[in-house]
């Protein structure tokens, strides 16, 4: 079982790294960039038979995301990458 976890900053949380990336894109001549928010991606392989959805939710809550400032989303069955 493969899963991909996306961790992103909650809206309203200042993202200075995203702003710096936005500035750099502007410096490269990409004039139309109105906003950049950066985040993290985790590709996780799980042994079959586990309750993957419950397990992954617990992983996100306990470690992968800091839910004070971050949201998470899980995609199953991804064989990308």
């Amino acid at each position: 079982m493969r899963a991909r976890v996306f961790v992103t900053l909650k809206s309203g949380v200042l993202d200075p790294q995203g702003q710096a990336i936005q500035g750099a894109l502007g410096a490269l001549g990409f004039a139309g960039v109105q906003s950049v928010r950066q985040g993290k991606v985790f590709d996780i392989e799980l042994a079959d038979g586990a309750d993957a959805e419950t397990e992954l939710k617990a992983m996100c809550e306990k470690l992968l995301a800091n839910t004070v400032i971050e949201n998470y989303r899980v995609e199953f069955g991804s064989d990308r990458g």
């Binding site: 949380v13 800091n66 004070v68 400032i69």
Partner: protein
């Protein structure tokens, strides 16, 4: 005063912390490796500065899930004093002993300089040796010191006197909300702070302004002993 310093892979401020504790209390702290599951009987547990686990995932995130942390949380809940400085503060937030999170500095730059701190609450085990609203000199050295919590949490911290230290005189180095440099747990026995008071405790440091914190703690320890 009996104390223990927790050591993680990547911790690098334990020596100065041990020297400051020795200076204030006359006793060497125990050094406890993060993989331990027990702690000696102590009055104070310290999580020092550094880059535990290379700041992987988020600063302090992996340290907060180390085996020894279950015991640190248990002792904190029993009322034992816990001090987290810099990376230690980040870890205390990650483990949930303190609210909020330390985000990347607003400047995106690592800051290594001296700041001014206001002692915002002197009625704590960590600060009672200082005068109310006293301004002290203290160094900072961090990349992720930008304290963030939602407005309700910030209001609550202020209302309950749980802001122990504030950056003063326009010296906020990281964009921290409400100039917060150090906060206390609800019970008041856990302190997390970004600045390094242990590095202002020797004449060679240029000032002794950080000694008050260690004398405050040592005084409590002697009273308890």
């Amino acid at each position: 005063m009996r104390s223990a310093i927790i050591l993680f892979p990547g911790t690098n401020r334990e020596r100065d912390m041990a020297a400051a504790l020795k200076r204030a209390s006359g006793r060497d702290p125990a050094i406890v490796w993060h993989a331990e599951t027990t702690l000696p009987a102590v009055d104070l547990i310290v999580l020092p500065g550094g880059f535990s686990f290379g700041d992987y995932l988020r600063a302090g995130a992996i340290a907060a899930r180390s085996p020894v942390m279950a015991e640190v949380v248990k002792r904190a809940n029993e009322g034992v004093l816990v001090l987290g400085v810099c990376n230690g503060f980040q870890s205390l937030c990650e483990v949930g002993l303190l609210p909020g999170v330390l985000m990347r500095n607003a400047s995106l730059k690592f800051v290594c300089r001296e700041v001014k701190l206001e002692i915002a609450n002197t009625q704590t085990p960590f600060t009672h040796a200082y005068r109310p609203r006293q301004i002290i000199r203290c160094p900072v050295a961090h990349h992720d010191g930008n304290y963030f919590a939602d407005e309700a949490t910030l209001d609550r911290l202020e209302g309950e006197g749980r802001i122990a230290f504030r950056y003063a005189e326009g010296t906020n180095p990281n964009g921290s909300r409400r100039d917060i440099a150090g906060i206390l747990s609800e019970r008041g026995n856990v302190l997390g702070m970004m600045p390094h008071p242990e590095d202002m405790t020797d004449e060679a440091h240029g000032a002794l302004d950080g000694l008050g914190l260690f004398r405050s703690i040592a005084g409590i320890g002697e009273m308890a002993a």
